[in-house]
Symmetry: D2
Subunit: 402 residues, 4 copies
């Protein structure tokens, strides 16, 4: 069997895996319980490293079962499993004040965040590759592909349109990543149980005590603090749309590469010919997943089955996993992309007459001397300036996301 | 026939209409030609007000035909119509240096921008209505709807979750609006024809002269300047996704209102009972349109039929028109929304036993005195603080978008 | 302005138009009222030709307004208009026993049925064109396009795969057409009002009298009789899926033609180069419309706003209109499609070595004499038989749908 | 952890599982090789039961890896695995004359066919449950849910609308199942390699010999014989659309049940309250998967990466798995569904005045005596006849699919 093209299996195989999602759930439970103890709302427990202790209880194989049944509520099963393997105090205080939806949402957010990180890292590698291509071919003339009457451009100008689309998309990913919130509000999102615990513990200001716990947990998980979004799913759709912007940009690039690499054209040559089709399949499967997430968001009230893995969870998971794979493939495609300058020039020359006609029409319009038409300059307008401008933007992105 | 609910027909009937789109196309042609004249690349023409002159040539009824046929390239027809009704010089210089795709894209952007403006204005009215609701009902207890075991919340807390979702979406709209670019690059996006004109006119630096024309046109049209995005459709998908975030938020709100207004529940009463269903229909039809735009973006290279109105144009137009209508309906729904505090309280009391049980379990956990359970405080956690926090955010949005 | 390619505007411009839909609504009202009179449930009215009379009252321009507002219930407006323009008896008995949803659904069904008829007629023309292509090129060798290592096929075999897909889709259209039902049940679908009228009129068996009216109306409209499907929208999704099967088949064909017509390949030549892109755009925009219809069907209960034009109506209308246009375009594409046998042969020869290698490996496997490999037969398997078989199937379809 | 509602895990857990799909691939390879031996095109091999032998080589755990990597071509890996574990002759003749796409497509078809069988069995159980409900409640009056002014119907009439939708959908499933074809054509779909083998073996009529092998294999796998559909994916979209018709019907039923089971309504009571939400989530996630399959079908030419698991494979697999689960859930929902006749009557009485008004308007129209209005008959039209008619149809379906 031919090996998978590239390093995806090694570098990103765990992104959004069952094991990753289960670990994320345990991390949420552990961070919450730890904060309760630190705030002295729960009693001191017998574990120096509560996160480590709880993660240690997780038996991946048994655990994975929790995520499989389509009607499952994995948090119920996870709590049963953890409680049966720890001491009575930890078992009793585990999950107090949290809702199951809190755990599912926050765990998914944690796992998605890893994907966004992976995507940004891949984009940086893509920018490096595209920058090199654009610099090398800033004045390499070729025919612009999609027009009916092909007009001249440069391969550098083509490359920086790819580059610009990718940076546009990556900007959305960076923004979405910084806004990913923890879901930490209890069953109505009001922290009522936690506040009650604080009151029962004799806290002078139970509301502040409860709010402080949330702040502490969000900080430790590296997530934005945000009140109650059980029914406000905009964080997920925003993230999904950012990933779609990426798969769009990669899919379009892959489509261009496929067209330019066609046996009859061969102006570029990908090192691994299967990559464009793989990337485009992902780009085609992704938009319906985005639609599912928007529909879930618009219908959050009526379709909700609290604490269960619904259409939203699955669509988000698939979209993120696919986008992570497409990110890696696009990097590989760009790293190994060769350009054939001679064939590009030949392709352009086939359309030379249309250009000459246009130049001569313009000369007639302006009333200029028709002999000008025979001048040798290529008819490339600001193509080179476009490259320069785009490379500056790429540099800025690299600095801001170093 | 019953009148349409509200003011949509009057206030937003022209948004994305045939007439609006045709006028936008003429505005693009006029702004471009005007800039050529001002830059002395085209000769002085015989019109003080070129925009007014060209718009005056447009015969809306005849013109509308241009947009109808599904296989149409309306720019061709529009140019024929305009040229046949103006003087020879204007006819000759009209559209020089532009591509048909430039005109279509920029005109669509202009029309979409009006929709985004309308949406933001409606959101401001919605914020005003929701702020009033949330203030009035900050401590009005009710049962939280979607949980299996309903727990208490307040109607103010429910209202600010709606509010937060709407502001999240509106933030995306405001961002998308500020980024909407003009498409002004000629057929390869390199300004080759315009540069050639500048060279033939004897400009010392034809590249700068050409670039200056673009800057001038973008400024007059109120659009961001951006190079060549014929095949990079991220501006459209970003705008579409922002509108989807709005229809999601409105759809969810409408779903909640429908559930709370159900004859068997009647905790709220909409002034116009048809509005929730209308808003939800829009929210359900919108995500597939977004998917179409992403697919068009991902496949920009292969599916493009330069200069024609394709799937992208139609999906964008429908999505924008629908979102504009849903914006108005949501404002109307919120303006006329009554709340029945007594029924809310009654609804909550039906689930009182579950709350008492939870409180008594927490007391046992903490080891506190069970008599505490009988205390009269409502079990509302930080609900009131959530309202306060959200109202501050709303105020900030209103100030920033005054 | 270049004329639209082909005859679509003339031959199919009225399919699903506003005027067509309004006329269909009037036809439903007229057929119903006529049946009431014939059954002597309504009094004799003063019109020999009730359908003609009511259609004559319709003022298309004023009428079209009824379909425009996105929140409209056009039946209300239509009834007001008709009642104000006819005599008192007709006005009083118009629409008695019908629900608004009955009129909308049945009118849409009538309009859709015309589209299905148009599609089948176009398919028959496509079959004629493809049959001719397949016969002419049954043994014209060429390289099979999509494989990584191209293997030989014939252009006839390629054409009959297109043909088979189109006939498969057309079979679904023919089935869906025969199943399109009238919606004629009154507000609960139980014919309660009509039964009451029959009872008040002194009918011995009011239930039978009411049922007979429905049978009569369905027959006159040429529709299947089916009880109450206000909330059972399978007839629409089935029809939509049949149209999607068509746009899929046409889109795939157009994609193949575009690839084979690429300037670098030129094995086929379409008479009108814009057609493949137009057809593919339709094929790409159609599946999300199908998804909208399925979502509307699955949510028929909750999203319904009785009597209004919702997401379902619009999606159905667009899908049908698009499919009608794509049908015509595909016929035009096939009618004008030229094949270049020499270039096909040259394309195949480029992959000859792969075939030779495979043949020699098979000889080794079987233990046969390697010299066999040099035999001149083309390596085409049952390609010719595939053509023969498909042409028989095409003939059957043509006979059954003559 | 609460057990999953019902028997899904036991009865349908293997449908579309990794193990099932791998076994299906091996079955295809084995049936093919067996047919080669029987036709004496391959030499006699040392296995009485070739299918059993090859299935025995499959190590599920190792094998499952083949399906996981998103860029995988599992047939390559499977062949390597099988060849390394069998004798030289079997290894050499395995897969001769087949294409990888043949194996993938036919294996998917086999696995999908099991799902269709499961769906039909579940539908039969649903028909039994709905028939009982409809008979028991044929004259149980209730308010029709979706109208603005509720009019009377019976619970039996509501149940038979559900029933009709389900039978409509099941008819499509039965048709799709009978049409599922094997994909057995070799790399160009022309059986070229197999024909070459037959020629090398000295067969007098190599074309017939090759065609006979295909007939034999299709028969043994229980699949329809159909030529070459590598690029004609209508069998998949037809199957998917049939499954969507099912999830639509179940989703609509679940929505009605949820509305009628609402705490404020309680006219019906599901035994397991989570089922409606689970079913509706499936119904909401399914249509975008259908759109993906149609897009894959329309773009079969360009997006294909022969022999790999693309967007189509995954969408088909998910849709089938989800539909299988929703089938089981709907059966469970109907088996345990209770109806509260008293509350139904009470709900109807709330709208009695509207009915009285309508009856009195009809009496005035007809000129009948208003006292009639006070007559006690319920205003139910042909509701009971609708039940009778639907039950007959249900009986026919049961007989035809016994």
């Amino acid at each position: 069997m031919t090996a998978a093209p590239g390093t995806h299996a090694e570098s990103s195989g765990d992104l959004m895996s069952d094991a990753t999602l289960l670990r994320s759930m345990v991390q949420v439970e552990a961070a919450w319980l730890d904060a309760l103890v630190r705030a002295e709302l729960a009693p001191g427990l017998h574990h120096d490293d509560l996160v480590g202790h709880l993660l240690g209880l997780l038996d991946d194989e048994a655990g994975a079962v929790l995520l499989e049944a389509p009607d499952n509520r994995p948090v119920e099963g996870l709590l049963t499993l953890l409680r049966s393997r720890t001491d009575a105090d930890t078992a009793a205080w585990l999950h107090q004040g949290l809702a199951q939806q809190d755990v599912l949402d926050t765990a998914l957010v944690l796992a998605v965040k890893d994907v966004l990180h992976h995507v940004v890292e891949q984009v940086k590698a893509q920018i490096t590759a595209l920058t090199a291509l654009a610099e090398r071919h800033a004045v390499t003339p070729m025919a612009a592909g999609s027009a009916e009457t092909p007009t001249p451009t440069t391969f550098g100008a083509v490359a920086v349109v790819w580059l610009d689309s990718i940076i546009d998309a990556a900007d959305l990913v960076v923004d979405a990543r910084s806004l990913l919130p923890g879901q930490l509000g209890g069953s109505s999102g009001t922290l009522a149980s936690l506040t009650e615990i604080a009151r029962l513990r004799g806290e002078a200001d139970p509301l502040s005590a409860a709010a402080d716990v949330v702040t502490d947990v969000a900080e430790r998980l590296g997530l934005r603090e945000r009140r109650a979004w059980h029914t406000a799913r905009g964080s997920f759709t925003r993230t999904a749309d950012a990933l779609l912007a990426c798969t769009d940009a990669w899919g379009r690039l892959a489509g261009d590469v496929a067209a330019l690499a066609d046996p009859a054209v061969r102006e570029v040559e990908p090192a691994e010919p299967r990559l464009p089709a793989l990337i485009r399949q992902t780009a085609e499967a992704a938009p319906p997943l985005g639609a599912t997430l928007h529909l879930a968001s618009a219908g959050a009230a009526w379709a909700g089955s609290p604490g269960s893995l619904g259409a939203e969870w699955r669509a988000m998971r698939e979209l993120a996993r696919d986008a992570a794979a497409a990110a890696t493939w696009t990097t590989e495609l760009l790293d190994g992309l060769g350009a054939d300058e001679a064939r590009m020039l030949a392709g352009l020359q086939a359309s030379a007459s249309a250009v000459l006609e246009e130049r001569s029409a313009l000369a007639a319009l302006v009333g200029a001397d028709a002999e000008d038409d025979s001048e040798p300059e290529p008819y490339l307008g600001i193509a080179e300036d476009m490259v320069v401008e785009a490379l500056e933007r790429a540099e800025t992105f690299m600095e801001e996301n170093a």
